[in-house]
């Protein structure tokens, strides 16, 4: 249905175009060529071969080009990096029985990149391992393949990420765009395409997945699909998909409060709330049971896996993450002053407290936009306050921000600037400077696309001091980029520049969290579309 209306829209547009072009060409070109010209332009314009396809092909191409660059820990023994971790998991899952995947055994040394993601990641590794085994068995041989690096191996591994992206993230993004704008008739086709290309060409996601090497596209793609499913009123499918995302990367739990509150709020609006909640609960339980099947009995196995998933012993923060704990540790030495237990409690309660307004808003008046804002707010709160956060986790709040790009273009752009910047030291370590610069430029280009007619409502413009403040911060970020690249830090403070980057990004993330929480609370309390559904 939605696709059909989209097509109708497209043909209408083409028709307009055709009329305008044929009139202009006949007036301007010489008489002799007239007939030919008309036939030509008619032919060209009559077939609306979808620009959609162009966007998709281009997104694939950019991913492939980024994948030509080095991955994390390339040629860096003995521990290498995330690439080796993923490869090692393939090796483990391929050669050992499922029971032993999370267990320290003679052939599975958990201190060397032991599996610490939920079972769905393990299954995915198993499938990809089969693929690698077919073309390059050496790269996944038990124990002997440790630190295996070869051009073929790299190519195959990159291919697994690319294919996962194509199979999961791309369709999910398409589905989301059609689901989100399906109900709105005012949105123009260009806008829709623009939004899709922003979602598909998210520089952070591409750099981490296809440069640094991870499979965020799977868990994030499943999350986007879950959102789309909920938007088309398929709540059960949505919660199933979100459970899959949770079981691929436990970090997806950053969104859990938003899903929980939105679905609960929707249930309350239903005639029979209890039945609906029960159904959802059953789906969630069933999905978990299915995925955890090899570890359910005896329960000790499940506990083993769980312990691997929550590595509290690593401390409240690592490296230089632009979150609350790490930034304030400049003043307060959290790790030294307080016990682990207390810190756990503290971080848990602060996270919960900061999410609370957004949860309450969604329970009281669930809405599409509100849901996306809730996802943004809860994941940003997790990033800022929760225990053991990694720089790369900024991808999680970045995703809902990208889904809101058409509603809040300025916020998205603002966020993207600092999200990318917060990962800059990491990407520089990975020797991904060129793709970083290139994709940053690509983002700026897409954002200021001249082919897109600017909305006259002025959603994207700010005035006066706000604009100048933002420009000032951007200038700071540019300067810090240059300083980080060219200058050497003083001997006494070797991580001075990292700390400065962290401070700048943290301040911006806090502003952003406040801004988006305010936006969410200002959303109309009784949203129209639920009422409309009931009337229909």
């Amino acid at each position: 249905m939605k696709l059909a209306s989209f097509h109708q829209f497209e043909t209408e547009k083409m028709e307009k175009r055709r009329r305008s072009t044929s009139s202009s060409s006949s007036s301007s070109s010489s008489k002799k060529h007239d007939g030919e010209d008309d036939a030509h332009s008619h032919h060209i314009l009559h077939r609306p071969i979808s620009p959609l396809l162009c966007v998709i092909v281009f997104a694939v191409l950019i991913r492939y080009l980024v994948s030509l660059h080095p991955y994390s820990g390339a040629a860096d023994p003995p521990k290498y990096g995330d690439y080796e971790a993923q490869r090692h998991w393939m090796e483990i899952t391929l050669n050992l029985p499922a029971k032993d995947w999370y267990r320290n055994t003679t052939s599975n040394d958990l201190t060397y990149w032991g599996l610490d993601y939920p079972p769905l990641t393990a299954y995915q590794s198993y499938v990809h391992a089969q693929f690698l085994k077919f073309f390059d068995p050496e790269s996944v041989a038990l124990v002997t393949s440790r630190g295996h690096e070869s051009p073929l191996g790299k190519f195959l591994m990159r291919l697994t990420v690319l294919s996962s992206d194509l199979v999961i993230f791309f369709p999910a993004a398409l589905w989301f765009v059609f689901a989100y704008y399906g109900g709105r008739s005012r949105v123009r086709r260009e806008e829709l395409l623009w939004h899709l290309s922003l979602v598909l060409l998210n520089p952070g996601l591409i750099l981490i997945d296809h440069g640094h090497f991870q499979y965020n596209c799977i868990s994030l793609g499943l999350t986007v699909a879950a959102v789309a499913a909920i938007f088309v009123e398929k709540d059960l499918v949505g919660s199933f998909l979100f459970c899959l995302a949770l079981n691929h990367k436990q970090m997806s739990a950053y969104y859990a409060p938003a899903f929980f509150s939105h679905l609960l709020g929707k249930c309350f609006k239903h005639q029979n709330p209890i039945l609906k909640v029960a159904k959802l609960g059953l789906v969630v339980l069933g999905t978990f049971l299915l995925i955890w099947w090899p570890y359910v009995y005896p329960l000790k196995g499940a506990m083993e896996v769980l312990r691997r998933l929550a590595p509290f012993e690593r401390g409240i923060y690592e490296d230089y993450v632009a979150n609350f704990w790490c930034t304030t540790s400049i003043l307060i030495k959290w790790k030294r002053l307080y016990s682990m237990q207390l810190l756990k409690l503290l971080s848990f309660s602060m996270t919960l407290l900061s999410i609370l307004p957004s949860i309450i808003q969604q329970i009281r008046s669930p809405s599409r936009q509100g849901f996306l804002f809730a996802m943004l707010n809860s994941s940003l709160s997790f990033y800022l306050f929760s225990f053991q956060v990694h720089e790369k986790s900024i991808l999680l709040p970045l995703l809902p921000a990208s889904l809101l790009a058409l509603d809040e273009p300025l916020m998205f752009q603002w966020f993207m600037n600092y999200a990318l910047f917060s990962m800059f030291p990491l990407l520089r370590r990975d020797q991904l400077l060129i793709p970083y610069v290139a994709l940053y430029m690509l983002f700026a280009l897409l954002y200021y696309c001249p082919f897109r007619k600017q909305d006259s409502s002025g959603n994207g413009s700010v005035n006066g001091w706000k604009a100048s403040a933002m420009a000032l911060f951007l200038l700071c970020s540019l300067l810090l980029h240059l300083i980080y690249l060219t200058l050497k830090p003083p001997e006494k403070y070797p991580f001075l520049f990292e700390a400065m980057i962290m401070l700048l990004c943290f301040s911006q993330f806090v502003f952003l969290a406040i801004y988006s929480n305010m936006k969410q609370s200002k959303l109309p309390s009784r949203f129209v579309w639920i009422d409309k559904k009931k009337v229909l």
């Binding site: 060209i44 092909v57 696309c449």
Partner: protein, 469 residues
Amino acid sequence: MEPQIKQEEQEEERSNPQKLLWMFTLATIMKLLLIPSYHSTDFEVHRHWLALTSSLPLHQWYSDSTSQWTLDYPPLFAYFERLLALFAPFIDPQIAHLHNGLNYAAPTALLFQRLTVIASDLCLLYACSRLRTRPGLGLDSWRADLIWVLLVFSPGLLIVDHVHFQYNGFLIGWLLVSVSAVEEGRDLVGGRSGGGVVEGFGRLLKMGFVVGVVFGVAFGPFLYYGQIKAVLSRMFPFGRGLCHAYWAPNFWVFYIILDKVLAVLLTKLGFSIPASSASFTGGLVGESSSFAVLPKITPLVTFLLVLFAMSPCLIKIWREPRPRLITRWVAYAYTCGFLFGWHVHEKASLHFVIPLAIVATESLADARQYFLLSIGFTQRLRKLQTSTSSAKKGDKERSRKGTGGTKEEGGGTLIGWVGMSYLLGLLAVEIWGQFLQPYLLGDRFPFLPLMLISVYCAVAFDSQHGTKN
């Protein structure tokens, strides 16, 4: 409804250099990302030229043989390399060092050289911006956008310049500037910038005086030092043989095939034919191969044939010069040179595929021709990179992108059934070369797939040539 359409029209009509800049930056991003991709020996060739021109005095440029990659481009290109070499020491002094730099391919060298290619593409940008402003041609914005897309995202240029490593974007930009100048009627400018283009474009522009001056500037210093003979012998290496190692799909492919077939037939019939030891399929450069049956081809014959093939077009231009059609004629002249020339490299086909892109927007038939040629061309280029599988994959993506780009405005099915069968055939040849050949024949006949592709494309290119007349 009506006012809205009108407004849209106006917005579209607005000649917008911003759009071109946007597209060009987008292409630049792709070029930046291509930096670590596969590069051919041309990378070392151009690096050596940087070192050569910067460390030796001018009169030794064309006589030095420190490396096997001697300078064999015309002087203006050598000056260009000299200019680039000025910047090399800022990045890494070893890049432009005559002896220490040999086969130097450190990341710094790679970065520097790739960046010079990317920067020199600004010339193409300038050419594109000039095309938009050609007066009196009634180029509506829709069509100009299309030309820009075809030029800026040309898959051929991307692969040859930014993967394989050459400076064609710069040269073609130069050529297009001169073409557009001629179209505007400013013949002298056209003649001057035409002189800068490497391969024999000057013959078309008979602006004796300006041409003379440009050639004087280019060759004068070498004449002064008495080096002109060395320059000429390097630039026109007749000793290298009729065909290049990787065959260009031109007329001579048929000639060689005919020769082989005749040789086999005649041997079967009992004539004694001196065995020519697979001289053409061996892929060797540097020996003048001989034919078994057919008469030997000399450079003079090829030159006359080129001239003969061009004559209809030259005579026509002579009789009624129409600036508007200059692009078409340039493309035509290039095609003639490509089909009948001596020792043509297949990369030379860029020089007529690109101008055709501009012509392609003028009528349906031309668009069809361009579409087929560029696909054939992109596919053919793949064989330049038989060494890395990843690069191949990239090419596929790129040619897909190229197709996507053309489709966007060109319409996919306008190619008709002949074209379709051509594409399918190409696919079949590709599959043979990539998958079946290794299984069925093993290591024998390593050059067979290349030859097949060449023959196949030669059929196609020649027939395109036929339809163009």
